[in-house]
């Protein structure tokens, strides 16, 4: 029971969705459902459920429903809602936490974003800095979808022509930031 309240779960055991969502819910407790966040969101038109509705689902313990909608994945972290919420709630952070939960739970709707981010972070882990072409190549490889790279090709070619990116075969092996990445994961898995 304790686990469900503070979201910590038992160390060593995989967390349930409820446990993962508990800290996000805690951030939203003061929501008065005024809808200012939805009205401020530049991507609300594309969302299948509004940010306000998402908070409602969260507060009424309908966590599963949140991840059936694409709403959190469409947050472009513009901080407009955070700035305007009359209760001063950290809404962009809440959206980011939902993204992290979706990444941890391997939620289908968020898979494309996760692969994008993971490919990016993989390049950072290896070299300390992101190599843009390597990152894009890793992304396409992870998508296993030959149609996606094509979409990017004209831009990729333009950038290569300007010498802004170079074509790189992703390099493997030990990375510059291995230890830092490992430690962060270790601490996060424990808490």
């Amino acid at each position: 029971m304790k686990a469900a309240i503070d979201g910590s779960g038992e160390p060593g055991k995989p967390k349930t969705l409820e446990e993962r969502l508990a800290p996000v819910r805690k951030m939203l407790l003061a929501c008065i459902q005024c809808g200012t966040c939805s009205g401020s969101c530049p991507n609300a038109w594309a969302m299948d459920s509004s940010p306000r509705h998402l908070w409602r689902l969260l507060l009424t313990h309908n966590g599963e429903e949140i991840f059936k909608s694409r709403t959190f994945a469409l947050c472009s972290t513009c901080y407009s809602c955070t700035l305007r919420c009359p209760r001063g709630l950290p809404l962009t952070d809440a959206m980011s936490l939902l993204k992290q939960v979706a990444a941890a739970e391997n939620i289908y709707i968020y898979r494309r974003s996760v692969r994008f981010y993971q490919s990016f972070m993989e390049s950072v882990r290896r070299h300390g800095r992101v190599r843009e072409m390597e990152f894009m190549t890793l992304y396409f490889m992870s998508m296993k979808n030959p149609m996606i790279p094509l979409k990017f090709t004209p831009l990729g070619m333009k950038l290569m022509a300007k010498g802004k990116v170079s074509f790189e075969i992703p390099s493997k092996g030990s990375g510059k930031l291995d230890a830092l990445f490992r430690k962060a994961k270790e601490i996060e898995d424990q808490s």
Binding site: S80, S113, F116, R131, A179
Partner: protein, 293 residues
């Protein structure tokens, strides 16, 4: 004036012209930049999308390295995404000692400690707050007369931390644009989101934001930005946005220091407009037609 310079990954690659023009313009204004030793990626928007702690540890590593340099000056960051990531560490670790502790546990692997003594500043903050606009004006030798410039701030240099400008109705670029001899194109989209990484993760949604901005900027001669992500989104997807709206968008999207460099008469290899993907002839002709002041 002296700053520790954190360029960030984009400025080494797709936004090379931003870095080159930033260093050139600040140099011409007598500002000294010392590049951060062995800097690494700040995590961009990617770390945040998968790991909370990593999204703090990656930028924190760079601040810790800067502290180790013992220069005791602010960290100057031109990229808005990098800026916000570093700023967030500065703010949140001050408010939350347990976060600082966790971050330092991670940094131990690099033999680094974050003390939280240094301030992170956005390039625009430095240009608008530290450098007197009269200094900029006095350097202008080829004023940008007759050019209407749309100032585009994007999100992350304005929000959530309102450090140097109004987070909803930003104005900090206006005196600079005027000092360069250009006029400010009036629009209310300066602080609207460009879609950030949605252009890659959900392009159907991202392209609408880009198209909306381009449409409103149509009557300007150029858009100026202070963020590589905004610049790329607005510059590289004009064709796709045009198709979507059945319009023809063809508008240069320059970095603010590039525009400054043009007015200050800096040589081409310090402005690097050749690296921009979209510089229409009409814009070039207007630049050519300018008189030397």
């Amino acid at each position: 004036m002296k700053y520790i310079y954190y360029p960030g990954c984009s400025l080494e690659g797709t936004a090379a012209e931003y870095s080159i023009s930033t260093m050139a313009v600040l140099g011409a204004l007598g500002v000294e930049l010392v590049e951060l030793d062995d800097w690494t990626c700040c995590g961009a928007t990617a770390a945040e999308g998968i790991s909370h702690l990593l999204s703090f540890a990656l930028p924190a590593r760079n601040i810790a390295v800067a502290e180790k340099m013992k220069l005791n000056c602010d960290i100057l960051v031109p990229c808005s995404a990098c800026y916000l990531n570093l700023k967030r560490v500065e703010h949140e670790t001050r408010l939350d000692p347990s976060l600082l502790k966790k971050v330092n546990q991670v940094l131990e692997t690099e033999n680094l400690v974050l003390k939280g003594k240094l301030k992170t500043r956005h390039l625009l903050d430095v240009l608008a707050s530290d450098i007197p606009v009269s200094d900029i004006a006095s350097r202008v030798i080829k004023p940008l007369e007759g050019l209407r410039i749309a100032p585009y701030y994007g999100c992350q240099c304005l929000r959530p931390y309102a450090v140097f400008d109004d987070p909803e109705e930003p104005v900090s670029m206006e005196p600079i644009i005027t000092a360069l001899g250009a006029s400010v194109y009036e629009w209310d989209m300066g602080g609207r989101c460009c879609g950030a990484s949605l252009m890659s993760t959900a392009p159907d949604a991202g392209i609408e934001l880009v198209a909306g901005l381009l449409e409103t900027a149509q009557d300007a001669d150029a858009v100026v930005t202070v963020c590589p992500m905004c610049q790329m989104n607005l510059e590289a997807y004009q064709k796709r946005a045009s198709k979507k709206r059945q319009m023809h968008y063809d508008i240069p999207v320059l970095y603010l220091p590039q525009l400054m460099g043009l007015a200050m008469g800096l040589p081409d290899d310090q402005v690097r407009m050749d690296l921009n993907l979209c510089v229409p002839d009409a814009f070039r002709n207007k630049l050519m037609a300018r008189q030397t002041a």
